[in-house]
Symmetry: C2
Subunit: 185 residues, 2 copies
DNA sequence: AGGTATCGAAACCTACGGTAGCGAAAACCG
DNA sequence: CGGTTTTCGCTACCGTAGGTTTCGATACCT
């Protein structure tokens, strides 16, 4: 196992996963603002101080939780249109999962007035997907950033305005519009 | 004048305009989260209690401030494509004004976890423009809502992720993409 | 001048993010 | 098995911000 390089001390196994799950369920139940670190800790069965020992702020906890929830983007082979379609549908589905959209919109809004958190959000969450998309699509950075703005922005705006994820018919329209626009090289 | 129906008491003339201006400059200087009601009141030269006498919450103050800042949408005559183009450029320019984008993104994110504020944001800020667009474009509600999600969502996402409004070249791309999509009835 | 309603100032409450200190628990090692 | 090391849980605490309450001062209208 990986126990050889492990320093002595009290166990820390599985703590991240428990906290991530507790974060999403708490956010799904109470919304982002009422999902306080204390409540998340209680839902995870750990102390608030334990969370602050692992993550430097609530924002970074949420970003890590989102990274865990999203996982790698589906960038397998296929035509350009198929790739774009798969990524948009994947983003829509993930943001529609309980707690994920709320957490995303919440940390996003916190980042608006917190430059340090904005750097974390941009570099840890957006950049990996952006780089992978640049590679998979052969598009320059500004085009991929525009793609992300349109897709994620629309999905989060719907979530924020209505409290519900975007319905399938509108995701279809989003796919059609974006794919048509990116067809022209 | 309108002084006939005015109840007695201390003057309240011009208070709204002063508070709106102070709100935008304070948000532009400090960002949404650090633009506290107390600081806004100080910038306006009024007491915090005065603001809470006029507006029930910080969120509603911001919504009223945004309504004042946006004003009526440009829906004058012209082709369908010209109308869409004008509205998108107008929204981009307004969101790019100092403080407006920050305030919009901030209140939007607050609304994510505050259902009461979400109702205010949706009914007072979004609905008037949505109804006017339905009328001007002859489109059903769900298509106009999709249009708003894409345009406003993309503009706010760019503002939130980078702290800067969307550059003209990307606004051009947004116009091109959206106009092409809505050309097909 | 007198009634009326607002304004300003200060104190106050609650909630939340984040920190400090300490004793206890658990893992590793000899 | 016993000691070492590290983390954990608990409690208390601080700063800040949204929002409320109270009360005296001020300005408008009749």
């Amino acid at each position: 196992m990986t126990s050889s390089a492990r320093p002595p001390g009290r166990p820390r196994a599985g703590l991240h996963d428990v906290v991530f799950a507790a974060t999403l369920t708490t956010v799904a139940e109470l919304g982002y603002a009422r999902a306080t670190v204390e409540r998340i800790a209680a839902a995870a069965g750990v102390a608030k101080t334990t969370i602050y020992r692992r993550w430097p702020s609530k924002g970074e906890l949420i970003v890590d939780c989102l990274l865990d929830a999203f996982g790698p983007a589906p960038l397998a082979g296929g035509s350009r249109a198929e790739l774009l379609t798969a990524v948009i549908r994947w983003a829509a589905a993930k943001i529609g999962e309980p707690g994920v959209g709320d957490a995303f919109a919440g940390v996003f809004s916190d980042a608006v007035s917190d430059p340090a958190l904005r750097v974390v959000l941009s570099s840890r969450l957006q950049d990996p997907y952006r780089l992978a998309l640049e590679d998979a699509l052969g598009e320059p950075e500004h085009r991929v950033l525009f793609f992300v703005d349109v897709v994620v922005g629309a999905l989060l705006h719907r979530m924020g305005m209505t409290g519900e994820p975007m319905v399938d018919a509108d995701v279809d329209a989003l796919v059609e519009m974006v794919v048509a626009h990116f067809r022209r090289q």
